[in-house]
Amino acid sequence: MPLDSDQLLHAYRQMKTIRLFEERLHDEIKTGEIGGFTHLYAGQEAVAVGICMQLTTEDKIVSTHRGHGHCIAKGCDVIGMMKEIYGRAGGLCKGRAGSMHIADLDVGMLGANGIVGGGAPQAVGAALAARIDGKGRVGVAFSGDGACNQGTTFEAMNLAVVTKAPAIFVFENNHYSEHTGDAYAVGTADDIASRAEAFGMRAWRADGCDFFSTYDAFAELLEHVRGGNGPAAIELDTERYFGHFEGDPQRYRGKGELDRIRAERDCLTAFREKVRMEGSVTHAALDQVDEDVAALIDDAVAQARADAEPDPANVADDVYADYF
């Protein structure tokens, strides 16, 4: 167990921030103040955090339509994010992105993506760029179980193997793509990692609801990739706590399924339990984090609400760096 208490607190704080961010959005969206599609990451926090906390700012990630968790874990400003999702002028992307396209290149977060599978080849490009720089940096693509059926994802894996790019494919198997189960839509039900292996890369498997399982598996993987051994993949078994997007009645869920995954598959609960057993962090410290994070989210929502909408006169700005 190589993590010290600061690191553990940091991990917990990040996961908790994601959780409260998403739970708060779940409530706020009902007010009608937030438009568009919002896909919440709650339930999968251990994946984003277990992975991103091992990356530097110079490592790049590309995310999915369900991107808030990856953003927060990679270091995006939470207040800027909230403003963005509210479509405000002070948002991380000036209100042009919204939930689905949120990005911050300064922290190596190359964007959430509205196109399922759109990000995977970009991670390979980031990896090829990193290799030229020669500092051992990597490009990471987050993909869902649904995204692993998109041609771009396959092409990206093959390209990474062929070019020996330091690219990492993270498959978050939350067992649903929209209203369809992975048991139906993924030919090799519940084994996405083997697809990556069939392209000729090593793959890891871990419990994506367990921070430590994710962290440890990814640590091994990252060493492998940073060591110049080409790409690698990891499949995480995880759960999504809310609907596909906000508004989804989730009639595809089994009876009691939501209660069960909340009770048995909560990465925050598991984390608390583990550190209590090991005595590495006090629960008082964790409680303090909870309080801090709650205040942060309150503040973010308040600031987002108070911020102005973008000036419509700027609608066509920033299409080009320069056009004439």
Partner: protein, 341 residues
Amino acid sequence: MAIMNIREAIVATLHAEMERDPDILLLGEDVVGGNGTAGGPEAIGGIWGTSPGLWAKFGPERVIDTPISESAIIGAAAGAALSGKRPVAELMFADFVGVSLDQIWNQMAKFRYMFGGKARCPAVVRLVYGAGMQTAAQHSQSVYAMLTAMPGLKVVLPTTPADAKGLLTEALRGDDPVMFFEHKTLYGVKGEVPDGDHRQRFGEARVVREGGDATIVACGRMVNFSEKAADKLAVDGIGVDLLDLRTTSPLDEDAILESVEQTGRLIVVDESPPRCSLAADIAAMVTERAFTSLKAPPAMVTAPHSPVPFARSLERAWVPSPQKIEDAVRRVLAFPGRSGQ
């Protein structure tokens, strides 16, 4: 005549046509929904609710949930069509032509021509399009101009429930690939729908109103916005001819030209950026063919040359508004005159 909305008209037409013709099949993401889940098939259908009950009635061989693989969806439709079936393929968002364009453009659109006229490729691709729900840059686009440009495709955009039925029926009975555009903000629009068999020929614009002072040509949601503008103009005694294109390929050139020859003034409204747009297409066609009738340069009311933004204020500024249409009509009527009249 029954009163229903566009969504209901589409669902009813799919049910009726699949009943009538055993060669019709439907494929897409979540067109059944619930497959592979505890809830089971049809626990909940696609996010637009345009295919309920089809799986239960027509079974898994004709109503097929697919993985997220749009190229394969369209490609499978193309192959099924070449094999004698009439597939309906659904793109949850029209923007996903980005990941499936080859199968639309280089495959289904070209088979008949390339194969010397021997092939039939009666595939219908349903595309959910348009801005207005803050779905941002990758889920809000109106890609009809791109597809209108492609020889071999027919492009259809119903704006009323009656046309949704009539045009979809026509699409399902023709022998060419049809791009059937459904505007995401119009599903709830209600209206009368003819009972029984109802086909609406392609290439026949709908005359929404006749006014005589200027001609507004529009399609999709822009028809509704143009009506609002027309109402405002009517208050000032300005009467417009308003044409709903219904199909952009084929294009009802005659109806447009006939009206412009009377009014001498053309305003084309197009929910897309300006370059190589349908607005430009129609403005140029009219100028070429009715130059001497024109009393003013055709006006093009389009979105700006930018992606679709997320924020409400920005999206509203992006979409051509009734106000902008009204302004354009007044500007055209005031020509020659100072700019901004």
